[in-house]
Amino acid sequence: MGGLAFLKKVDIFKGLNQKQLNAVNKMAREKQYLYGDRLFAEGENADRIWLVIDGKVDLRFDLPGRTTSEENTVFSIAECETLGWSSFVPPFKYALSAYSATKSCKVLQITKEHLLEYFEKDPRMGLMFMTNMAAIASRHFDQLQESATVSPVAKVKITVHMSTCGIAAGARQVMSALMEEISRSDRQDVEVASAPCIGQCKSEPNITVEIGGSEPVIYQKMTPDRMRQVFKKHIQGGKIQKDFVLSD
C-alpha cells in the first residue's frame, strides 16, 4: 500500500493531519495495471477517486468506434496526483477515459461513499478535500483550454467555416469528410478548427488551409469530394487546388 508517507504527498489530501490521513489509509485499496489497460471509460459510473502511486495515467477523449490513441490524451496524471473528480459531480459519470501509460501503474482507489461518511464527522477535512479537488479540476480546466488552443505538433491548420449559412450549404458533411481523411492518413500534425462565416455566403461552404508559415488558402463551394481532393493533393501533396480557390 502507498502508506501514510505517500498519502501525505498526494495533491487531494494536502493540509490533512495525521489522524485524517490514517482514516484515509484505512479506506484505500491498491490496484495494479499494465501498459494500455483501461482504468475506466468515459461515461461509466464514477463512484471513486484514484491516486497514482507509481507510473502514469493518461486521460483521453476516446472517439466512438475507434481504438484509443495517445494523440487523444488531454492530460496525464503522474505520481501523487488524483483522478476521478467526476464522482462528486452530477451525473456522476467519468468525463474522459483513463489508461495506464507506463509499463506498470499502481493506484489507490477510495470510494466516494467512504469519504463522504467521514466528512460528515469531520467537515474541516471535507472542506479541505473539496477545495483541493476543485483545485485539481481547475488545473484540468486550464489544461483542457490549452489543449484546444495549442497543438504542439500541428503544422497544418484546416478551418471549416461552420456558420448557419455554411452548415446549410453542407459544411458538416465537409467536416466529416475531412475527419475521415485525417483518420485514414494517420497524420498527427493536422489541427482542425471550426470558425464563423467569412462573409462570402454565396461561396459557402468555405475552408481555410494554413500550412506552416505559408499564406492561408481559402477554398470555396466545398463538398465532401472536393474536401477529399484538397486533403490528398494540397495537404498531403503540397499542390494548391486552384480550381476551388476563392477568388477576390
Partner: protein
Amino acid sequence: MISLDFLEEIDAFADLDDSQLTAIQNCCEVAEFKRGEKIFAAGKIPEYFWIVQAGQVNLTWDMAEGPALPENTITTLSEGMPFGWSSLVPPYKYHLSAHCASRRCKTVRIPRGRLLKLFEDDAQLGYKVMSRVMVVVGQRFHQLQDEVARRRGHDIINRW
C-alpha cells in the same frame, strides 16, 4: 439587503441553516450591469463569488483581447445561478470572462476574502458550500469539454 428566501434557493447554499445563511447574507453586495458590459475578465485575480439575481450572464472563452463573441459563449446563466467559482479555488484566477447578456442584469457578489473567512470559522458551512461549488466546477468543465469537442470537430463524428 438580499433576502434569506433568495439565498436559500441558491444551489451553492443548499442545506445551510438560517444562521449560516444570515452570515452569508451579511457579506452580500449588489452590482448591476448593462448589456455587453464585462463583469470580469479571464486571467484576472477574482475578488468576488457571484450569483445572478435577475437577467442573464454569458460566460465566454475569450481567445484574445477584444469584444465578447457569441460563438465563444460556454454557457448562459440566469436567475439563481452562481459563477466565479475560481474565487474560492486555488490558484484564484478567473478561467472565463463574464458579460451581461440581457438589457440589464443584477448580480449578488460576495467578497471572496469574507466568504473564505466564513469557511474558516464554520467548517461545516465551508464543506457544504465547497461541495456545491465543486459541482459548479464540474459542470463548467463539461461545458468546456463540449465546446472543445465542437472546435475540434469531434461533435460531428459523435453524431454519427
